[in-house]
């Protein structure tokens, strides 16, 4: 395994210039996440319309390249999708980043799948998996409105 597979150009680019790093106006769902290991923190904002379709997604926070890129790619990707679809994608992503070799979700377009697979290098770096998954867990929390701050130390 080469370190360059972890730090692919697309990750570095998203890490450096994260998309959606702002606070959505009139958001109607949000949640905070924290990774005590890195000190990474993230705040996810969602705006869903009446049909539960994501009109906007954004985040605030700071962290390592992996966590920033992951949040950036994620928020880009969920825009325009329906809540159910988003949940399905999250599961697919979390499965892939831990064990599955591939993404299976039908709700992902080919280019989206390719982009997400850029994060798959993390699998070989167990301590960094949490960096990649923090924003995703926080997204679940936002959708479910659990009001509970995500703390990656609680996650396996």
């Amino acid at each position: 395994m080469n370190i360059k597979e972890l730090y692919q150009e697309i990750i570095l680019e998203h890490g450096k210039n994260p998309r959606n790093l702002r606070k959505t106006d009139n958001f109607n769902k949000d949640a905070k996440g924290y990774n005590p290991l890195c000190g990474d923190n993230v705040h996810i904002y969602l705006k869903l319309n009446e049909k539960k379709k994501v009109e906007d997604a954004s985040f605030e926070g700071s962290g390592c390249a992996i966590s920033m890129a992951s949040a950036s790619i994620m928020t880009d990707l969920v825009k325009g999708k329906e809540e159910n679809e988003v949940k399905e994608i999250i599961n697919d992503f979390l499965g892939m980043i831990k064990i599955n070799p591939e993404l299976k979700s039908k709700n992902l377009k080919d280019d989206e799948r390719t982009k997400l697979m850029c994060l798959s290098g993390v699998k070989q770096y167990p301590m960094r998996v949490k960096c990649a998954t923090l924003s995703w867990h926080t997204l679940i929390s936002a959708i479910d409105n659990t009001q509970e701050e995500i703390n990656t130390e609680r996650l396996d």
Binding site: Y34, P36, L37, Y125, P126, M127, R128, N151, E153, R154
Partner: protein
């Protein structure tokens, strides 16, 4: 694993003269445990936790693996219910301190028994001076047992927690802890079991037992020194305040406030006994390989054999005669002080302990100042008991007793 050959697994018994009968004090260690410590320090050492380099990741995984092994071994519901401490004594202090802090006030009562080890009394005693709580002692009967009735008798509407030993380190009595737990819970009282002597000798199932707290001393369980375990139901670990403060157990630290980490980190402040935790996995594997059924059967045979032999020996008096007994043979000899017995036995390579075994209250209740104690481990044999008996006879001869 063949129990008749088990001494071979313990390097200390290369000394063929040694008859080690002091396992209630601390057990010997099998080669696999010793080797694991050696390997870990020699090839894999790193601190666990927050470093991201390869050694640290591997060490952290090993450390957390032991937590999972312990969880499975004692059938706890969640790995987060397993807290590593420096010993059983610290585990009990942790509970007494945090439970006392949050839930106890003047006039409340803590119920112990007359059998308890100082480690399951002194920590509660602190609350007496600090908070004005009362300590009650369920009585031991003449057989050295504490019955469910004697516990029930001392429960009042002020009883806020019960703390009892699983297996007495003096009389060997095995307490009916499942019944005591049911009784306690029927009155809404939480219960701590001091499992120091129970854990190495009996089968453990936390979900079946349903106790609130259970404490283990790893060095008595074929594991390294400097390590203990607190099992506690998750709700308690969540509700109780943290104990020691330091690195690793916090979430966020500011100049005017601190928030604490999640379980089990909340109770593991500072750098932990990494190598010891990693090696303790081998102690559990060792016991699993033998199987607790075999351990129990083997030790029961020895206890029965030893009791019979000592009963037949004139002037030897067994201390306690509990119906359910494990691992411990305490005795006195009229006319010979236990310390003289221990010294003479030692001359023959027979290692026992003499004194009050950190149970002064029990000794006072029984009206004796000290006892001699032969305590068993998985490695003991009938020949060891024979050697014990013949050294006792030598004692008697030196002291001109019949």
């Amino acid at each position: 694993m063949n129990l008749s050959n088990i001494k071979k697994e313990f390097p200390i018994f290369k000394n063929k003269n040694l008859v080690y009968l002091d396992s209630a004090n601390s057990s010997q260690k099998p080669q696999s445990v010793i080797a694991r410590i050696n390997d870990f320090y020699s090839n894999e050492f790193s601190n666990v936790g927050r470093s991201v380099h390869a050694l640290s990741i591997a060490a952290t995984n090993n450390y957390e693996n032991t937590r999972i092994s312990v969880q499975k071994y004692i059938n706890a519901k969640s790995k987060d219910e397993i807290v590593f401490t420096k010993g059983a004594t610290e585990a009990i202090n942790l509970v007494a301190n945090t439970f006392g802090q949050k839930y106890l006030k003047e006039g409340d009562e803590i119920l112990l028994t007359e059998l308890e080890h100082h480690s399951n009394y002194v920590p509660w005693h602190y609350l007496r001076s600090l908070k004005g709580v009362k300590i009650k002692f369920a009585e031991v009967n003449e057989d050295g047992e504490v019955s469910i009735e004697s516990i029930e008798k001392k429960i009042t509407s002020n009883t806020k927690i019960i703390a009892v030993t699983h297996l007495s380190n003096v009389t060997g009595a095995i307490l009916p802890i499942k019944e005591i737990t049911e009784l306690a819970h029927s009155k809404g009282i939480p219960i701590l079991i001091d499992g120091c002597q129970g854990a190495p000798h009996l089968k453990l199932d936390m979900q079946d037992l349903d106790c609130d707290f259970y404490t283990i001393s790893c060095h008595k369980m074929y594991g390294p020194t400097g390590l203990g375990i607190l099992y506690a139901k998750k709700k308690w670990l969540e509700e109780l305040p943290p104990y020691q403060g330091g690195g690793g157990m916090i979430k966020e630290v500011k100049k005017d406030s601190i928030s604490f980490g999640d379980l089990p980190n909340k109770y593991e402040a500072g750098t932990m006994a990494t190598a010891q935790v990693v090696a303790f996995d081998q102690s559990i594997k060792f016991l699993e390989k033998i199987g607790m059924n075999s351990v129990i059967q083997h030790e029961k045979e020895l206890i029965d054999y030893g009791q019979e032999m000592l009963r037949k020996n004139n002037s030897v008096k067994l201390v306690g005669n509990p119906k359910k007994k494990g691992a411990v043979l305490s005795f006195t000899i009229e006319g010979i002080h236990p310390h003289d017995i221990a010294t003479i036995l030692d001359e023959d390579g027979v290692a026992i302990r003499a004194g009050h075994h950190c149970c002064q209250i029990l000794h006072e209740t029984l009206g004796i100042t000290a006892t001699a104690r032969a305590s068993l481990g998985i490695y003991n044999t009938k020949e060891d008991i024979d050697r014990l008996n013949s050294s006792i006879n030598k004692c008697k001869k030196i002291f001109n007793l019949k």
